[in-house]
């Protein structure tokens, strides 16, 4: 009962101030961003976006949704031991204005951001194949 009173009084103290750096990228995030982004010699961002969709399909991903004007695609798949883990990705494609396209991918594994650069390297290697190899 006392504990209940104390807890409720704490609630009366007002909302706590969020940390100042809540929205600032940490150093780790900045580093991660560089792994997650790559520029390709593709003039048309829609071509690149479709290449991303094809690469994701090759990798067995389920395309969740896509938005062409935004250059956005999100996808996911069950993976890992017994297919109990869940990998989800968000890819954004945009023109850099110099006849190139920038591709950025965010990958999560079981809701946690993947910070292993090898993962992103593998994705871009597959994407490159999808964009530039004729079958």
């Amino acid at each position: 009962m006392v504990a209940g009173l104390v807890l409720s009084l704490q609630a009366c103290a007002g909302p706590q101030k969020p940390p100042e750096d809540l929205l600032s990228p940490s150093e780790a995030q900045m580093k991660l961003r560089s792994f997650q982004t790559r520029t390709f010699d593709v003039k048309d961002s829609n071509t690149a976006l479709r290449g991303v969709v094809a690469a994701l399909q090759d990798l067995g991903f389920i395309i969740e949704r896509a938005n062409a004007p935004m250059g956005l695609v999100t996808a996911g798949k069950f993976a890992g031991e017994g297919f109990s883990g869940f990998v989800e990705v968000t890819v954004i494609v945009r023109n850099t204005g110099t006849n190139q396209t920038e591709v950025r991918i965010n990958a999560l594994f079981n809701k946690k951001p993947i910070d292993d650069p090898k993962v992103y390297q593998n994705f871009f290697a597959t994407l490159e194949r999808s964009l530039f190899v004729t079958h």
Binding site: N46, L49, R50, V53, A54, Q57, D58, L59, G60, I62, I63, E64, R65, A66, N67, A68, P69, V73, K77, F78, A79, G80, E81, G82, F83, S84, F86, V87, A107, F109, K112, I114, D115, D116, K118, V119, Y120, N122, F123, T126, R129, T134, H135
Partner: protein, 190 residues
């Protein structure tokens, strides 16, 4: 991957020493990827992508699917169909009970409470080698969840999800046959 290695990795994961053990492989093409692509893809002699998508949506609807997402700019469709897994589970269970009953074994009935959804994701791509053709690639998959029971040979703990890619050739052939009919075009294999 050898079982022992997976167990070690699972152990490391639980101990919190390693954040993620194998995600790098999730973005590498598996040895099956070429075969899967052939199974899931057909070529059509058309440059009308909208018609392809439209006809594909119609086929999926005929097959009882609801279209959940679509985007013409990228050329994709995602659809889903609810399917009670309860019946399938119960049939398996009944078969099992019958078999064990014949062998004189006592069987404890385990209620099967599963929810199953069949999903389909389709994308259209221009054929790089022949600009007059478009490729249609579709993936059928099954998700089972909220179980406390069995589906096939898998035990599903409560609240868990389990997903299976459907690799049955006939399902893909059936889809492409219908699509071909709807378009009045032949579905060519890659």
């Amino acid at each position: 991957m050898p079982r022992g290695l997976l167990t070690v990795m699972a152990g490391l994961l639980l101990s919190g020493c390693v954040q993620t053990a194998t995600p790098a492989s999730f973005f590498e093409l598996s040895p099956d990827s070429a075969r899967n692509k052939a199974l899931q893809t057909r070529l059509f002699e058309t440059t009308n992508e909208k018609e392809l998508l439209s006809a594909s949506a119609a086929v999926l609807q005929d097959l009882g699917f609801q279209i959940e997402e679509s985007d013409v700019g990228v050329g994709m469709l995602r659809a889903a169909k609810e399917r009670s897994a309860r019946q399938a589970g119960q049939e398996i269970l009944q078969g099992l009970i019958l078999a064990l009953g014949l062998l004189g074994q006592q069987v404890i009935l385990m209620p099967v409470d599963l929810h199953q959804q069949i999903g389909a994701v389709l994308a259209t791509h221009r054929d790089e080698q022949a600009p007059t053709r478009f490729m249609v690639r579709i993936l059928f998959y099954r998700t089972v969840w909220k179980g406390d029971g069995e589906s096939g040979r898998q035990y599903i703990p409560p609240g868990q999800q389990w997903m299976e890619v459907i690799n049955d050739q006939d399902i893909y052939r059936q889809f492409f046959a219908k699509l071909s009919k709807g378009l009045f075009l032949e579905a060519q294999q890659i």
